[in-house]
C-alpha cells in the first residue's frame, strides 16, 4: 500500500534504489549505447580517447618538453596522476549537472527515483576513470616505475573523489533544474578549477604558509593524494591539508544532498 500525502517527504533512498536497480542499469546502458551509435568503432572509443590523450602527453611532456626529469619520476606521470582524478571530477560534474534537465521528458511523465539519473551519469564517467587508470598502469610498466608503499592509501582518495564528485554533481543537477544559470556556471567553474588545482603542476610549489588555505579546494587534496600514493615524491602525504579537504567535502555533501532532497519532489513542476 502506498500513501501519497501532501507535505510528507520520507523517501527511503536506499530501499528505492534497490527497488529500481534494474532501471539504473537500463538508464546507464541507454547512455552507453547512445553514445556510440552510428560510430564505426563503437565502444573502442572508450579506450581510444584516453589512449590518444596518453600518447599526446607522453610525446609532449616526455620527449619534447623536458620538464621535471630531476624529480625522480617522469613529468608525464605527474601530469597523468593529476589528470586521472581531475578528468573524472570534471566530467562527472558536467554530466551530472545536465543529467536531470536533458531528461525532462522522463521527469515530467514517469515516476522513478530521480537520483538514478545523476548516478547513472556517474557510473559512465567512472568507467572512463577505470580505463584511464588502466592506461596509467601501462605507463607505470613502460617506465618501470614501482609505486611507493603509500599506495595503500589510494582507495581512500578514490572514495574521497567519488563522494566529492557525486555531491557536487547532485547539487548542481538540482540547482540546474531550478536555475539554468548553473548551466553557464558549471563549465566556467570547471575551467577555473583546472587552473587552481594542481593538475599540471605539483602541489608542493605552493608556499608552506598557504598550503592549508590551498587545501580548501578539495580537489587539491585529492590530486595531491593520488600523486603522492602513486608516484611518491620528496615529501609524504600532507595530512593537515587532507583534513581540511575532507571537512570541505563533508560540508559540500551535506549542503548538496539537503538541497537536492528539498526540491526533488518539485522537479516535475519547475524543470
Amino acid at each position: 500500500m502506498l500513501l501519497i500525502e501532501a507535505g510528507k517527504n520520507k523517501t527511503n533512498y536506499v530501499r528505492e534504489l534497490w527497488q529500481y536497480r534494474e532501471l539504473l542499469f537500463f538508464l546507464t546502458w541507454r547512455d552507453l549505447l547512445v553514445r556510440y551509435k552510428q560510430t564505426a568503432v563503437g565502444f573502442l572509443w572508450h579506450i581510444l580517447k584516453p589512449f590518444l590523450l596518453l600518447i599526446t602527453l607522453t610525446l609532449v611532456f616526455g620527449k619534447l618538453v623536458h620538464l621535471g626529469q630531476d624529480k625522480g619520476y617522469p613529468y608525464v606521470l605527474l601530469v597523468i596522476t593529476g589528470l586521472l582524478p581531475w578528468q573524472f571530477f570534471a566530467s562527472t560534474l558536467s554530466d551530472c549537472s545536465e543529467s536531470l534537465i536533458v531528461n525532462y521528458q522522463l521527469i515530467t511523465k514517469i515516476y522513478f527515483p530521480r537520483i538514478l539519473l545523476p548516478i547513472s551519469s556517474m557510473i559512465i564517467t567512472f568507467i572512463d576513470f577505470l580505463i584511464t587508470a588502466g592506461m596509467l598502469c601501462i605507463l607505470l610498466v613502460y617506465y618501470r616505475f614501482v609505486p611507493p608503499k603509500e599506495i595503500i592509501f589510494l582507495p581512500f582518495f578514490i572514495i574521497e573523489l567519488l563522494v566529492l564528485s557525486f555531491a557536487l554533481g547532485v547539487w548542481s543537477a538540482a540547482l540546474n533544474v531550478r536555475y539554468r544559470d548553473c548551466r553557464q556556471l558549471v563549465p566556467f567553474a570547471i575551467q577555473f578549477g583546472l587552473y587552481i588545482s594542481p593538475v599540471a603542476f605539483s602541489g608542493s610549489i605552493i608556499p608552506e604558509k598557504w598550503r592549508l588555505l590551498y587545501h580548501l579546494n578539495p580537489m587539491a587534496g585529492i590530486i595531491d593524494g593520488f600523486r603522492r600514493t602513486i608516484i611518491g615524491g620528496e615529501e609524504s602525504i600532507y595530512w593537515p591539508g587532507q583534513l581540511v579537504s575532507i571537512c570541505v567535502i563533508g560540508i559540500i555533501l551535506y549542503l548538496g544532498l539537503t538541497y537536492y532532497k528539498h526540491i526533488e519532489k518539485f522537479f516535475a513542476d519547475i524543470i
Partner: protein, 403 residues
C-alpha cells in the same frame, strides 16, 4: 478499494509579468534587492497562486474503469501526475493499493537512436517492468506492434505510426493493478485507436483498474465511471452518461430540425425531411425521409447528402437503390430512416440535403428542402473514418399513403 483520493488539491505559483517558466538567479537577486531598497512596496513579480486541482475526492474499486473528462486545463493531467507520483499534492491524500503504471504520453522514454528492440526494454523498464517480465512478454509486444521487420532499426527511422504502435504495445502489456492512460489515443490512426481500445477492454476484463483520459467520447465505451473536471474541481454527476452529457454542452441535447410540406417533382412527392438528434450523448441521431410515389418505380435511389459549411459534400449516404437491386417500389408512401453518428463530425454546422434519383439517373430537384444540425463538443478531435468503417444502418418502410 484500490484507489482512494481524498480532498486532493494542487497549487502552482505563476510569476506575473514574466514569460519565463523558470525563475533565474537574477530574478531571485533582483527580488531580494527590491526588498532591500523598497521594503514597503509590493513586489511586482510576486507569484500569484493558481489551483490546478481543488478538493478532488473519489474512490475506485478493483476492475473499475474511470473516464476523466474535462476541457484543456481542467486539471486532468495534474490529477494523473499526482496519482502516478510525478508531482506532489499541495493538500490531500491518496491511498493506493497495488502497483501503478502510468502512460502519460505515448513514447515516453523512447530514445530515437536506439533500435525498436532496445527501446522495448528501455521503455518497459521505465514504465516499471522488470527485465524478466519484458523478456517474457517480448514476443507479445512485437506481435501487437506489428513491427517485427524493423526491430533492429533505430526508431528515429520509424514512421510516426510505427513509433506510436510500438510505444503503446509496450504500455499495453504492463502488469499493474492500476493503469493510468492520458490521451494515448490522441495520436495514431483509426485502426490503431480501435486496437488500443480493444486491448484496454481486454485488460479491463482482467479486473484491473484503469484511469483513462480522452477527448474522444466514443472511446469511453468500456468505462464504467466518469469524473468530470472543470477548473480543477469535480462537477457532480451521477453516471458516466451524465458526465459526458454535462461535458458536451451543459446537458442540452443537440438541436434537431425538420422540413415538412408537399413537394411534387415528377412521380415523386416529398413530404418531410427530419433530423432527430441523439437522445444520449454517445448515441446516434437519425434522419427520416418521407416520400410518396405516384407510380411504381423499379430502381429508385434514395439517400441524402451531408454538406459542410463551405458547401462541400462530405457524406453521400444511400439508404436504398443499389443499381440492379431487387427492390421494386410500388406506388405508395414510404419512410426512409437512417442512423447517423454525430461522433464522426467535427464541430460545425452541417446541412442534410435530399439525394433522390430516378432509374435513368435523373435527379429529383430538392430545391429548398434541407435541414441542418450543429455539432458542438468542446475539443472534439473527430473520428470520421472510424464511423465510416462501422457503417450506418439505413432502412425503409411503407407508411400509410400521404397523398
Amino acid at each position: 478499494m484500490t484507489l482512494l483520493v481524498e480532498h486532493l488539491s494542487k497549487k502552482y505559483s505563476v510569476l506575473r509579468n514574466q514569460k519565463l517558466e523558470t525563475e533565474t538567479l537574477k530574478d531571485k537577486l533582483t527580488a531580494g534587492l527590491k526588498r532591500v531598497f523598497s521594503p514597503k512596496k509590493i513586489i511586482k513579480n510576486a507569484p500569484h497562486e493558481f489551483w490546478a486541482l481543488n478538493d478532488v475526492s473519489f474512490s475506485l474499486d478493483p476492475g473499475d474503469k474511470l473516464a476523466v473528462i474535462g476541457k484543456n486545463g481542467a486539471g486532468k493531467s495534474t490529477l494523473l501526475k499526482i496519482i502516478s507520483r510525478i508531482t506532489p499534492p499541495t493538500n490531500g491524500k491518496i491511498t493506493v493499493r497495488g502497483k501503478v503504471a502510468a502512460l502519460l504520453e505515448v513514447g515516453t522514454g523512447f530514445h530515437p537512436e536506439l533500435t525498436g528492440k532496445e527501446n522495448i526494454y528501455l521503455s518497459g523498464a521505465l514504465l516499471g517492468m522488470s527485465k524478466i517480465e519484458i523478456a517474457g512478454k517480448f514476443d507479445e509486444i512485437v506481435d501487437f506492434s506489428e513491427i517485427e521487420l524493423f526491430l533492429d532499426t533505430p526508431v528515429k527511422r520509424y514512421s510516426s505510426g510505427m513509433f506510436v504502435r510500438l510505444a503503446f504495445a509496450v504500455a499495453a502489456h504492463l502488469e499493474a493493478e492500476i493503469l493510468i492512460i492520458d490521451e494515448a489515443l490522441a495520436v495514431g490512426d483509426t485502426q490503431y485507436k480501435k486496437k488500443c481500445i480493444d486491448k484496454l477492454e481486454e485488460v479491463g476484463k482482467e479486473g484491473r483498474t484503469i484511469i483513462f483520459v480522452t477527448h474522444d467520447m466514443w472511446a469511453l465505451r468500456f468505462c464504467n465511471k466518469g469524473l468530470l473536471l472543470e477548473n480543477g474541481s469535480v462537477v457532480p454527476t451521477d453516471s458516466l452518461a451524465d458526465c459526458v452529457a454535462k461535458y458536451s454542452g451543459s446537458g442540452s441535447p443537440q438541436k434537431g430540425s425538420s422540413w415538412s410540406g408537399k413537394f411534387e417533382n415528377g412521380p415523386v412527392v416529398i413530404h418531410s425531411l427530419e433530423y432527430t438528434p441523439p437522445k444520449s450523448p454517445l448515441g446516434k441521431g437519425s434522419v427520416s425521409i418521407k416520400i410518396s410515389l405516384l407510380q411504381a418505380i423499379p430502381d429508385l435511389f434514395v439517400g441524402f447528402l451531408i454538406v459542410n459549411r463551405s458547401g462541400n459534400i462530405i457524406v453521400r449516404h444511400k439508404i436504398t437503390g443499389e443499381s440492379g437491386s431487387e427492390i421494386k417500389f410500388l406506388q405508395g408512401s414510404y419512410e426512409f430512416l437512417s442512423e447517423i453518428d454525430p461522433g464522426m463530425f467535427l464541430n460545425g454546422i452541417y446541412t442534410i440535403e435530399l439525394d433522390i434519383l430516378l432509374p435513368e439517373g435523373k435527379k429529383i430537384s430538392h430545391q429548398g428542402i434541407a435541414v441542418s444540425f450543429e455539432i458542438f463538443r468542446p475539443e472534439n478531435s473527430g473520428n470520421l473514418q472510424d464511423t465510416l468503417l462501422t457503417g450506418w444502418k439505413g432502412d425503409f418502410k411503407s407508411i400509410p399513403c400521404m397523398i
